[in-house]
């Protein structure tokens, strides 16, 4: 007796879902509404994050003094070493600037950095993404690049008021233009969805070897130049196929650590809006 009523309701939600899915993909204004609605899920993310963050803080608090002293010494040494390297870097940078002026190419200096924390939640096992605790209030914008101490991590995809979501370079929908440090060969590194990246459309005869470091080439203007992306893990030439299959290990430690850096590139702020899709 109640069957037709349920059927009617089902029809309504099927139509509504279709409309929502299409609006979600097509309309930018709908994205804004969605990001405003996202604040209602923020408390749940916080609830899940809280015990883990508290645990981190508690272990920080309870750590032995001897260990802290050791760590402090180590970090001081590290700091001196880094600064020594930085001195050389400053000289190189001015030299580079002068050379660029001579050849009349524009300088490509980045940028401000913003430190953010990863919120400890797993949104979905099948997409590689992270949620970070900085949002529109801290001038995060879609398309912004996130890095850690070792390399490029990914790209900010959606921005809410107080948090934002970023897709990692290993996600299947992420692509970044790269270049080989050894010989300047350019390629596109696309995520595979399984923890590593692959180089697309590289001819079999190209000189790329295991152990080569790939850095961002800056082509396309979305990623800044010269940040490490990955190290070549495997090169396979299959006879009969036009392209070599090359896999990279990401340089950034994607599944470890809480702190990340957001690169702020002022000129590009109004450029970013959509995300790199292959």
């Amino acid at each position: 007796m109640r069957e037709p009523e349920h059927g009617f309701r089902l029809l309504i939600i099927v139509l509504m879902s279709c409309a929502l899915i299409i609006a979600d993909q097509r309309s930018e204004r709908f994205g804004n509404i969605k990001s405003m609605a996202s604040f209602i899920v923020y408390p749940i993310q916080k609830i899940v994050d809280l015990p883990i963050a508290t645990l981190h803080e508690a272990t920080d608090f309870l750590v032995a003094q001897q260990r802290l002293v050791n760590e402090n010494n180590y970090l001081k040494q590290e700091q001196i070493l880094q600064q020594a390297k930085l001195q050389r870097l400053a000289a190189l940078e001015t030299e580079n600037q002068q050379l660029r002026q001579l050849t009349q190419t524009g300088s490509q200096v980045t940028d401000n950095l913003l430190i953010a924390n990863i919120i400890n939640v797993d949104p979905d096992p099948f997409t590689h993404q992270v949620i970070i605790d900085k949002g529109r209030h801290d001038n995060v914008y879609p398309g912004q690049t996130i890095i850690d101490a070792n390399g490029i991590m990914g790209t900010v995809s959606t921005v809410n008021d107080f948090d934002s979501r970023a897709i990692l370079i290993t996600d299947a929908s992420h692509a970044v233009p790269v270049e080989d440090v050894r010989n300047g060969l350019r390629a596109i590194a696309v995520g595979t969805g399984s923890g590593c990246l692959e180089l697309r459309h590289v001819p079999n005869t190209t000189d790329i070897a295991v152990g080569d470091i790939m850095i961002t080439s800056g082509l396309g203007g979305r990623f800044p130049v010269g940040f490490p992306v990955g190290v070549v893990k495997d090169v396979q030439h299959e006879p009969g196929k036009p392209f070599a299959s090359i896999t990279l290990n990401p340089s950034a430690k994607l599944d470890r650590g809480r702190h990340i850096l957001l690169l702020q590139n002022k000129d590009k702020r109004h450029n970013g809006g959509d995300i790199d899709e292959e």
Binding site: I13, A23, I40, V48, D124, T127, T158
Partner: protein, 165 residues
């Protein structure tokens, strides 16, 4: 009359509370190797409430729960809404039969319902762009069916202690 409506609001709130627990479970970080095994607790909760309290949880309730989950996970907005709405509909049609099934039959039915919900989400993700490429995607319907008796017992106790009908 007024008493009755506050009572029904209370019931809806306590059901929503159980779903908040399910949401939290779905986003607790797990090591990479275990992520595939995480049972789809939201769909299981939809199945439980739609079969045991169909006056309170119907197609619309499941739809809004699913939309909330979409916001939480960043899936295409509306995909979980659609799949849990459809699961609620199927469960309401199956619910009398579900009671008299044997254990292994229940296992099969739950597995099929979760797989159905996954299939709908997979279709939508394929339409939108990047579906999960791994066969492990389907594993979660088996683990969901495995944990069903536990979920059932816990929710049954919860339901009886709050006297939700």
């Amino acid at each position: 009359m007024r008493n009755k409506s506050t009572r029904s609001t209370m019931i809806h709130l306590s059901i929503a509370l159980s779903f908040i627990f399910a949401f939290s479970f779905m986003i607790v970080p797990l090591p990479n190797s275990l992520k595939w095994l995480r049972p789809d607790l939201v769909t299981l909760f939809v199945i439980y409430w739609a079969s045991n309290s169909p006056n309170n949880v119907g197609v619309f309730f499941a739809f809004f729960v699913g939309l909330f989950f979409d916001l939480l996970t960043g899936l295409p907005f509306g995909s979980m809404g659609l799949s849990s709405g459809i699961v609620a509909f199927l469960t309401m049609n199956l619910r009398l039969r579900l009671r008299i099934y044997r254990h292994w039959q229940k296992f099969m039915v739950i597995m099929l319902l979760v797989a159905c919900s996954q299939l709908i989400r997979l279709w939508i993700q394929m339409l939108v762009g990047h579906p999960p490429a791994s066969f492990m995607y389907w594993f979660c319907s088996i683990t969901s069916a495995v944990v069903w008796p536990v979920v059932f017992t816990i929710l049954r106790t919860y339901q009886q202690s709050l006297k939700i009908t």
